[in-house]
């Protein structure tokens, strides 16, 4: 009984042991199958995940190319700046470290609180920015105390800087973070934090200036801490750019302009088309836009009603006034309407239809040939000849002399202006041309609008006896030879003689600005910004009266120097400057003299 019981027990135990063993083997099989699935079947997937775990690609941003003036003076470059960080894991007491730093450089209490708050959220080895763009003296103070302040980390960065603040700001432009559309641009596609040019040369030459990004592959652990660098491809510095601007002339001209509220001065080298000076006032300081916080400065710039961001040399459109008369005279000569002997009598006004067209000199110039008409800027002479030439022929000549077009220079947002014609008016207003409009156009008023660069180009073409001069802003080593417009050569010679008289003979409108040091030729212009009422005209002294600034005429002057073998052409526009003779011509004279001095 006992024996068989024991036997029975052992057979039960054996059976159970066997079952248990089977259970274990099957469990091991399940685990084995699971490992097979992970390690063999899905291995590729996990291998990829494993790689993604470790490798991070970091972009190395390139250094932006510099911008030089024609004499290799740096106009835009990059300066080292220093950012101060704190690394929570390197300090026992972040509050203490910040307090110590605060004794060296003031940090707002609220900023300190924010940093401490942030330090609790980020990983303990992650650096937190405490101060941005600190200068050398501040850096020195920190460096000498660094050993005493735990957890401080200083990193070096580059910031775009403009050596001459607002002197060339319109031309050079400024850099900033790209906006949403610009991020899509091909040259910055992989560098979302790159500062790119937003205006001027900085904008036009983004692809050149930016350079090429580098990258480094780094191995990171699960916390994002960098373990080691796997590979490194350094970035390539952007190309430098040299502009044709001569900083000395630019500075000089800007100082002259600064005596007026708004205006511009363009100086061109006639031989090469190089723009030596292209100053516009008011201007802005790009360094103040780059340095954050910049909101206050931005707001002041945007709120300024003189619009400092406008580059008046290419974006300011003005009626050229009497500076347009050369074009009309040349058209008259070329089309045989006048010759040097053709005379018209000016008694102060002519009538066409029911309207009276006044000369600026209300009691008239008397008998005028083309030479005197330019010299004394007689309006009636040009009213008379324009009737015979017709607007379309004037327009064609104007275009040949560089007006009404956008130049192929890397300057963004050039304004084209208007050279009116019958076709133009038909297209624009769907109206036919009135004969009176030809008269108004002939003295550079009415529809006619030009920008100062165009006026400088026009003057260059005249001064060069008709070479088809194209403006140039980027310094090139090769000699440029412009094609000559032969048909205008004779007419130009007559006109140049008249322009000489404007400055250098008594009764010439710019005679007061004549220069012995740097004899030059030119033409004044005074362009109306509003219609003068009959009542005002009859009061006789309407030009002398102190009129509200905004209602005053624009003052213009175009000219070239020297008189023989001209080398430089200038255009000066002073907004609401009164008259070209009194305001614009003296500035042109100063610029010519300064430029002349530089040569010797």
């Amino acid at each position: 009984m006992f024996y068989s019981d024991e036997k029975k027990q052992y057979s039960v135990l054996n059976r159970r042991t066997f079952l248990l063993y089977l259970l274990k083997v099957s469990f091991f099989s399940i685990v084995g199958w699971r490992l097979y699935n992970i390690q063999i079947k899905d291995s590729q997937k996990y291998k990829t995940l494993s790689k993604n775990n470790q490798i991070d690609v970091e972009i190395i941003y390139p250094l932006r190319g510099k911008i030089y003036d024609t004499n290799k003076i740096v106009l835009a470059s990059n300066i080292k700046v220093f950012d101060v960080y704190i690394i929570p894991e390197n300090t026992k007491n972040i509050n203490k470290s910040l307090n110590e730093l605060n004794q060296i450089i003031k940090i707002d209490f609220s900023d300190r609180l924010k940093i401490i708050e942030l330090s609790k959220k980020v990983k303990k080895f992650e650096k937190i920015k405490v101060l941005e763009n600190i200068n050398w003296s501040q850096l020195e103070k920190i460096e000498s105390n660094k050993l005493n302040i735990e957890g401080i980390f200083i990193s070096q960065d580059y910031m775009r800087t403009y050596q001459f603040d607002n002197t060339v700001s319109h031309l050079i432009g400024y850099t900033n973070k790209p906006n949403q559309e610009e991020v899509e641009l091909p040259f910055i596609s992989n560098m979302p934090n790159l500062e790119i040019g937003k205006d001027g040369i900085e904008k036009s030459f983004n692809p050149y200036l930016i350079g090429k990004s580098g990258q480094r592959e780094i191995e990171v652990n699960s916390f994002g801490r960098v373990i080691r660098e796997i590979s490194r491809k350094d970035s390539q510095k952007g190309d430098d750019i040299q502009v044709t601007i001569d900083l000395r002339i630019q500075q000089y001209a800007l100082n002259l302009l600064k005596e007026h509220k708004a205006g511009s001065a363009v100086l061109m080298d006639i031989k090469s088309g190089n723009i030596l000076c292209m100053a516009s006032t008011p201007s802005y300081n790009p360094n103040k836009i780059i340095q954050k916080p910049n909101k206050k400065y931005w707001d002041s710039v945007l709120e300024n009603e003189l619009s400092p961001l406008t580059y008046r040399c290419i974006q300011g459109l003005y009626a050229p006034g009497s500076t347009f008369k050369m074009v009309v005279a040349i058209a008259g000569i070329v089309h045989g309407v006048i010759d040097t002997n053709t005379k018209h009598f000016c008694n102060g006004k002519i009538s066409l239809g029911e309207r009276l067209y006044h000369c600026w000199k209300s009691n008239g110039h008397g008998s005028m040939n083309v030479s005197n008409a330019i010299k004394e800027s007689c309006d009636v002479f040009f009213y008379e000849i324009s009737k015979k030439i017709g607007i379309d022929k004037i327009a064609k000549v104007a275009e040949d002399f560089g007006l009404g077009k956008i130049y192929d220079v890397p300057l963004p947002n050039q304004k084209k202006g208007i050279i009116p014609s019958r076709d133009w008016k038909k297209k624009k207003y769907n109206e036919s041309w009135y004969p009176g409009e030809t008269l108004i156009s002939a003295i550079g008023q009415g529809f006619v609008l030009t920008n100062p660069l165009q006026l400088a180009v026009m003057t260059s073409i005249i001064a060069s006896n008709g070479k088809n001069i194209q403006p140039n802003i980027i310094k090139q080593n090769k000699e440029i030879e412009f094609e000559k417009l032969e048909k205008y050569e004779n007419a130009i010679k007559i006109i140049k003689n008249s322009m000489f008289k404007v400055v250098n003979e008594s009764k010439g409108t710019a005679y007061n600005s004549r220069s012995e040091l740097a004899p030059f030729a030119g033409k004044t212009g005074t362009s109306q910004v509003r219609r003068i009422t009959v009542a005002e005209r009859e009061s006789d002294d309407f030009r002398k009266k102190e009129v509200e600034w905004k209602k005053r005429d624009h003052a213009l002057f175009v000219g070239y120097m020297p008189v023989q073998k001209p080398r430089y052409a200038v255009s000066v526009v002073i907004e609401h400057g009164g008259s070209g003779a009194s305001t614009a011509a003296p500035i042109a004279k100063e610029i010519f003299q300064f430029t002349k001095n530089l040569e010797t």
């Binding site: 274990k24 084995g32 490992l35 063999i40 699960s222």
Partner: protein, 365 residues
């Protein structure tokens, strides 16, 4: 005495040493190719514990049999004292310091449960087993430590105690229907027990159900350990070449997740090798059990083999995503003295049982 040493099961000892050496290699790699801090101590412990196990194998089995309940009560008191320290001291703890060793009483109690159950079924006549009243005592032996471990809270160990009890009770011949009944009771108690789980334990269970949903939180460990295993492929990335652990993507790489490191560096071949070694070790335990002429030796060997099985299956299931991460080490491989001590000592008892397999009577009376 010398005779006994000659008759020791050297296959078992060899397997223990081999598995521990693989563990040491893993720990060496986990430390970035260094013996310190883990591998060297792992090997020193191994030597010491093997020595302890051999001594245990050589002492009289009657002594072990007689003191089985005493051992159980002592380890239960130890476990209780951990609880009390936890309650009156500073927060929850699982460790107690004895003679300079940090020991987890919850690991030791598993061995004494095996001893106590082995003695109980040895003493119990076979026709008595089917009586319901004779279930009371074994369930008490299991329930007391289970509850103490649950409130620690150590979900993994509690679960492994429960599984150990079920396997031993099954092996000792309890009727199948009682298990079925017990199973239903367990199912019904799940919603109730969920209320008593710590928030972090609930998180673990839920993250197990959908690890990718919380890749940086609770599911993180699981995803990373699967990446480590999977990226190892068939042959692995090579010794010391495992990037997952090197880059600290693997959590607790030296303890509970050591298996994934080995899987990454030695691939499927490496993991299968370890599994087969463990299966062999368990098979040796079962072989000794079948050979044994007394119930005490049989239950003891099956219990120890099952305990080992539970560790291995829970650990590998855990790191391969078959079950929630509950914090069970891989015996002999993971770094940590308590589990290693418990496993090697318990295998020493199996060695003892084999040497004394022919004894008929364990009573001195």
């Amino acid at each position: 005495m010398l005779n006994k040493i000659q008759n020791l099961n050297y296959l078992l000892i060899f397997l223990v040493i081999l598995i521990s050496f693989i563990g040491a290699a893993g720990l060496y790699s986990a430390a970035g190719g260094s013996y310190s801090p883990w591998a060297s101590r792992h090997l020193i412990r191994l030597t010491f514990f093997i020595f302890l196990a051999v001594i245990l194998a050589l002492i009289n089995i009657k002594f072990i049999y007689q003191f089985a309940y005493i051992f159980f009560i002592l380890s239960l008191l130890l476990l209780l004292s951990v609880e009390l320290i936890g309650v009156f001291g500073k927060g929850a703890t699982r460790w107690i310091n004895i003679l300079g060793f940090s020991i987890q009483p919850s690991e030791l109690i598993k061995i004494t449960i095996i001893l106590a159950l082995a003695r109980f079924y040895h003493d119990l006549k076979f026709d008595q087993i089917k009586r319901i009243k004779n279930l009371f005592f074994p369930i008490l032996i299991l329930f007391l430590p289970f509850i103490l471990v649950v409130i620690q809270p150590d979900l993994g160990t509690a679960l492994s105690i429960a599984m150990l009890g079920i396997l031993i009770l099954f092996a000792s011949g309890i009727r199948i229907w009682k298990f079925v009944l017990g199973f239903f009771v367990l199912i019904l108690s799940i919603p109730l027990s969920l209320n008593y789980l710590q928030p972090y334990q609930k998180d673990r269970i839920f993250s197990f159900l959908n690890p990718e949903a919380d890749a940086l939180g609770r599911g993180y460990q699981l995803i990373q350990s699967k990446i480590a295993l999977g990226s190892g492929g068939l042959t692995g990335k090579g010794f010391l070449e495992g990037s997952q652990s090197y880059l600290q993507y693997l959590p607790e790489k030296q303890t509970d997740f050591i298996f994934t490191l080995i899987g990454e560096e030695f691939g499927f071949i490496g993991t299968m090798f370890i599994i087969i070694l463990f299966l062999l070790l368990i098979s040796v335990c079962f072989y000794i059990s079948i050979k044994s002429n007394h119930i005490f030796g049989r239950i003891l060997s099956i219990g120890v083999g099952s305990n080992l099985f539970i560790y291995v299956i829970m650990n590998i299931s855990m790191v391969s995503g078959l079950m929630p991460v509950v914090g069970i080490p891989l015996p002999l491989v993971s770094y940590g003295g308590s589990a290693m001590l418990a496993i090697i000592i318990s295998l020493g008892l199996v060695l003892n049982a084999e040497l004394n397999g022919n004894l008929k009577k364990l009573h001195n009376a």
